[in-house]
């Protein structure tokens, strides 16, 4: 990894998290009314996911970025096991993984073959970014009400749109995050992120198992290096 790209990662996180911080603080200050239907829906979703011991799923992500010639399709897997394990593996077109265990984060990519480990506390910016990520994947939806305004787009299956509350901060980078639940409302089926600059990313979950993975090596770095 080059020096400047490592630093750019930090800067990126600084920006995202700065935005998150701003939107969160404004949310607390203003606390707009949220319709009871949405609150009930989020509560139901959160309760439903909170009962799960873990999740294993495959995903396909389509990234439509102005910087790229074509839409890029990524394939990978996501695993979650309570209380504190989350693994995000991308298998195609490149291989990289993010593994979170409690307060420890490990990032690995095949091209460099390097694993970087850090404590969430040592990098508050990264910690906050991962908190957002885990909030989406582990069903802490109610906490997102602080940062976003929520619209119910469809009732069956449930499709919700989260719009960052302020034009500043998160709103500078993200226009909206839309999620769609599976028919049984037990987990996510799709996440669509529309960026302010026109870029767009769609994440579709397939083969979702509402159980933790049997092979716990998916949460370990050693298993990746093979």
């Amino acid at each position: 990894m080059t020096g400047h790209t490592a630093a750019s990662a930090v800067a990126a996180i600084v920006l995202v998290l700065g935005a998150l911080a701003l939107s969160a603080s404004h949310a607390i200050a203003q606390a707009p009314a949220v319709s009871s239907e949405i609150t009930d829906t989020l509560k139901r979703m959160e309760q439903s996911v909170s009962k799960l011991e873990g999740i294993s799923a495959e995903f396909i992500q389509h990234k439509k970025l102005a910087a790229f010639q074509d839409v890029v399709e990524l394939k990978g897997r996501i695993y979650m096991k309570r209380p504190d394990k989350l693994a995000w593996h991308v298998d195609e077109p490149i291989r990289y993984s993010i593994l979170i265990t409690g307060q420890i984060v490990r990032q690995w990519d095949e091209e460099t073959g390097q694993t970087r480990e850090m404590a969430v506390s040592s990098n508050p910016m990264l910690g906050a970014a991962l908190n957002q990520m885990t909030a989406w994947f582990t069903g802490k939806y109610l906490s997102l009400l602080e940062d976003y305004e929520v619209k119910l787009l469809k009732r069956s299956p449930i499709r919700l749109q989260f719009i960052p509350k302020k034009s500043q901060g998160m709103g500078k980078a993200i226009k909206s995050v839309t999620i769609e639940l599976q028919e049984d409302e037990k987990y996510l089926r799709e996440i669509v992120i529309d960026e302010a600059g026109g870029d767009n990313s769609t994440l579709i979950f397939t083969r979702t198992s509402l159980k933790p993975p049997e092979d716990l090596r998916v949460f370990e770095v050693d298993a990746l290096v093979r």
Partner: protein
């Protein structure tokens, strides 16, 4: 001749004793009223040595308000609470901090500067990039670098942070803004603590603590204001929820705490001394008129203060405090006169018998205080004037007024004599006592030779332990480091910034860029920014832009980037060209907070620009050399200042001690007229010095400034004891010299020796020096001096002292 002259004067006053008394009462009354008009100066400059660096450093701290900073750390102690809870507590605390005590309160910085830098155009880069930065840019315009950077960007854009990476890569594929960001990060090291800015707050690394930095409206030297600030801050900190703890660093707490400890000590020692004096006057001396003896020094100090103020035009508070203690010496004259009057049964006869040794004693004491004129400290000159006048006034009142009001006829001396009996004129000195004195002195001399000087003057800081503990907790938590500051002062801002630019370049070369926190690499002077801008334009328009376009197109293709992927970068680059002017930065609102930490307007006009670096020996040496190369700059270093301050103080007190010793020896020789008697008279002075140094060393203490100043006072007392006892041995007169010397010593120990019960280190040091020194001087004068006199002089009968 002296006796005749004094006798005539005394008799004349006796004839007009009422007039003399009324005159004295009038003088004391008028002086008491005059005290209301005496202006006391609390400026610390009066009490520091004349050292240009010290004076400039103190002036810098005073004018820059740095000493008035109050740092507060609020931390979570409950794992169920999170940083948002902490932020709420901090915001609530900040809102409750009264503007009466705090002018400016900061608990973080906004991310606005970083946002602007990362999202903004290229103009800041164009104006700030140095030749070294441009060399870095040049090295990045290569196939290899671009290929690696784009591969990395590609990976990152596919990851969870892809949203941000996409716009960053498109706007800045070479990561040029991150060079600026790095420079910005070095600015945060200027505050000397490890902070992480999160949610706009100064967080500790573990996100469990937030730091608040406040500018106090109260000067750190303002004792009453510091007390109010201490109480206000403690009151609001006590009201914080149970799930947080706090720690504070504030110079005001030291001021208040020292005052608190001193007050407590004085209450205790005054209580002990009062009981002691009452016992001494009413039980041991057994005569309420002895109270007059104790009023004389007070009257002398009140009159002397007015006269000194008239001569000097100002007086330091500290000087008044010290002078009151030193004037206590003058109590001796009253004691000698009182006892001589009692012993002879005729006050006039008594005073005439002791007048000569009293005058000699007083003149040697004046000689001791005269030594203070050799000090580099203005306050000590004031001290010399005040003390000398006090001593002379006390001597005159004791010799000319006091005896007029002592009833003639021999009387009992409390527990010492019996009613109707002639008081005994004691003699405790013989071969055995002298041998014992010599033995003890030789043993202590052995220890005294190993005495160590305390170089750190701050060791006499008596701040309470709870405050020191709180500061230690704060420092551990925040990795607090001392910062040295290179200060540039010029009449106009741009000139100051230009000097700052040069200083920065030299400092980077001397101690490395990561150690230097300066505005220069980010926002240099306008002149430098115009130079940078011209270089930037020349660089890109000289073919580098075209070259980069080609490389990005070629390497971007390989990494599947679109043809328009880097349009935002080139649009921004083009916009940075063709500007002939640069905007002034001091009025830029987005950077005002950071800029203000480095640039400020001075009180008397002009500007001051600061550069920060670690206050370590390896760094301050080269930085000092740099400052000497630039006449408008100087280095402010706590480490250097501590050394200079301690060194200058010790050197000053050392000179004083030497001059005082010389004057005492010379004056004693002058008055005694021969070497042998001079040696005998100085035995108590030498004994006190050896015993003080030996005892301190034996108990593991080093000699500090308070010990040394107290010793000068001890010298003044002990030379009196030596002269009185030598004179007694020579004249053989029964004037109760042993009793008088003993009462003098007891009085001094009650007044100043009781300070050994004090917990403040400066007071304790003073008390222990007085206790050991006066004790040693007294014991040697009554147990050794008479025998030594007989041994050296032989019992040759009574002789006259030199005129």
């Amino acid at each position: 001749m002296f006796d005749r002259w004094f006798s005539r004067l005394y008799d004349r006053i006796s004839k007009n004793r009422k007039i003399a008394l009324y005159l004295l009462i009038f003088l004391v009354g008028a002086s008491g009223a005059g005290m209301m008009f005496v202006k006391f100066n609390s400026n610390i400059k009066l009490m520091i040595p004349h050292h240009p660096t010290i004076v400039r450093n103190i002036e810098f701290f005073r004018s820059s308000n740095m000493a008035n900073k109050v740092l507060i750390s609020i931390g979570l102690n409950d794992p169920t609470m999170d940083k948002d809870d902490l932020i709420k507590v901090v915001d609530s605390l900040v809102s409750s901090m009264s503007p009466e005590f705090f002018t400016k309160i900061t608990s973080g910085v906004s991310d606005e500067v970083i946002d602007e830098m990362m999202e903004g155009q290229m103009q800041d880069l164009a104006e700030s990039f140095s030749p070294q930065d441009m060399a870095t840019v040049d090295s990045r315009i290569s196939n290899e670098y671009v290929s690696l950077a784009l591969a990395e960007s590609y990976r990152r854009m596919l990851g969870p942070g892809g949203i941000i990476h996409s716009s960053m890569t498109r706007g800045d594929p070479l990561g040029l803004k991150l060079i600026m960001l790095k420079k910005l990060q070095t600015l945060s090291t200027s505050i000397g603590h490890d902070v992480k800015v999160d949610k706009g707050k100064f967080f500790s690394h573990d996100l469990q603590n937030i730091m608040i930095i406040a500018d106090a409206a109260v000067a750190v030297t303002d004792i009453r204001g510091s007390e109010k600030l201490y109480n206000h801050l403690n009151q609001i900190l006590d009201g914080l929820p149970d799930y947080v703890t706090s720690s504070v660093i504030a110079g005001h707490f030291h001021t208040f705490s020292n005052e608190n400890v001193i007050k407590r000590d004085i209450r205790l020692t005054v209580a002990i001394a009062s009981i002691g004096f009452l016992v001494l006057i009413f039980v041991i001396i057994g005569d309420h008129r002895a109270l007059l003896i104790y009023i004389i020094p007070l009257a002398a100090v009140v009159i002397a203060t007015n006269i000194s103020y008239f001569i000097l035009g100002e007086l330091s508070y500290s000087v008044i405090g010290l002078a009151a203690v030193i004037a206590g010496i003058s109590i001796d004259y009253g004691i000698h006169v009182f006892i001589a009057a009692k012993m002879t049964g005729d006050p006039a006869k008594g005073v005439k018998l002791v007048a000569k040794p009293l005058v000699i004693g007083a003149l040697t004491t004046v000689g001791v205080f005269f030594a203070f004129f050799f000090s580099q400290i203005d306050g000590y000159h004031q001290l010399a004037v005040l003390s000398i006048i006090s001593v002379l006034l006390a001597l005159l009142i004791s010799m000319l007024i006091l005896p007029q009001f002592i009833t003639p006829g021999q009387g009992k001396l409390g527990l010492i004599g019996r009613q109707g009996e002639e008081p005994v004129d004691y003699n405790f000195s013989n071969g055995a006592t002298t041998f014992l004195w010599l033995g003890c002195t030789l043993i202590l001399l052995y220890f005294a030779l190993g005495v160590k000087l305390e170089n750190n003057i701050l060791r006499v800081d008596g701040t309470e332990k709870k405050i020191i503990d709180s500061e230690d907790r704060f420092k551990d938590l925040w990795g607090t480091r001392k910062r040295a500051i290179l200060v540039v002062q010029e009449d106009d801002l741009q000139t100051a910034l230009e000097v700052n630019d040069k200083i920065y370049a030299e400092a980077v070369e001397a101690i490395g860029a990561p150690n230097v926190s300066s505005l220069a690499p980010l926002w240099p002077s306008m002149k430098r920014r115009l130079e940078n801008l011209a270089r930037w334009n020349e660089f890109w328009r000289g073919g580098k832009e075209e070259k980069l376009r080609e490389i990005l197109a070629r390497e971007g293709e390989k990494h599947k980037f679109s043809k328009s992927a880097f349009d935002p970068f080139f649009q921004s680059l083009t916009a940075s060209y063709d500007r002939l002017e640069v905007a002034a930065k001091e009025n830029d609102e987005s950077i005002k907070e950071i800029y203000g930490r480095f640039v400020s307007k001075m009180e008397g006009g002009g500007y001051q620009v600061l550069t920060f670096a670690p206050d370590l020996e390896i760094h301050v040496g080269p930085l000092d050399e740099i400052s000497q190369r630039h006449p408008s700059s100087f280095l402010v270093s706590g480490a250097i200042m501590e050394k200079l301050f301690s060194g200058a103080f010790l050197a000053d007190v050392s000179v004083l001690t030497k001059v005082a010793v010389f004057l005492v020896v010379a004056l004693t020789f002058l008055f005694m007229g021969n070497m042998k008697e001079t040696l005998v008279a100085l035995a108590p002075v030498a004994t006190s010095a050896i015993w003080i140094l030996g005892t301190l060393t034996m108990f593991g203490h080093s000699m500090n400034v308070a010990n040394m100043v107290a010793y000068i006072v001890v010298m003044g007392l002990c030379v009196d004891y030596g002269i009185f006892m030598t004179y007694k041995s020579r004249s053989g007169q029964k004037t109760g010299t042993v009793l008088a010397v003993t009462f003098s010593a007891i009085s001094t120990l009650l007044g100043a020796g009781v300070l050994v019960f004090a917990s403040h280190p400066a007071l304790f040091s003073t008390g222990s020096t007085m206790l050991i020194g006066v004790g040693a001087g007294h014991l040697s004068s009554i147990f050794a001096v008479p025998y030594l006199y007989d041994l050296l002089m032989g019992k040759t009968g009574h002789r006259e002292m030199a005129p």
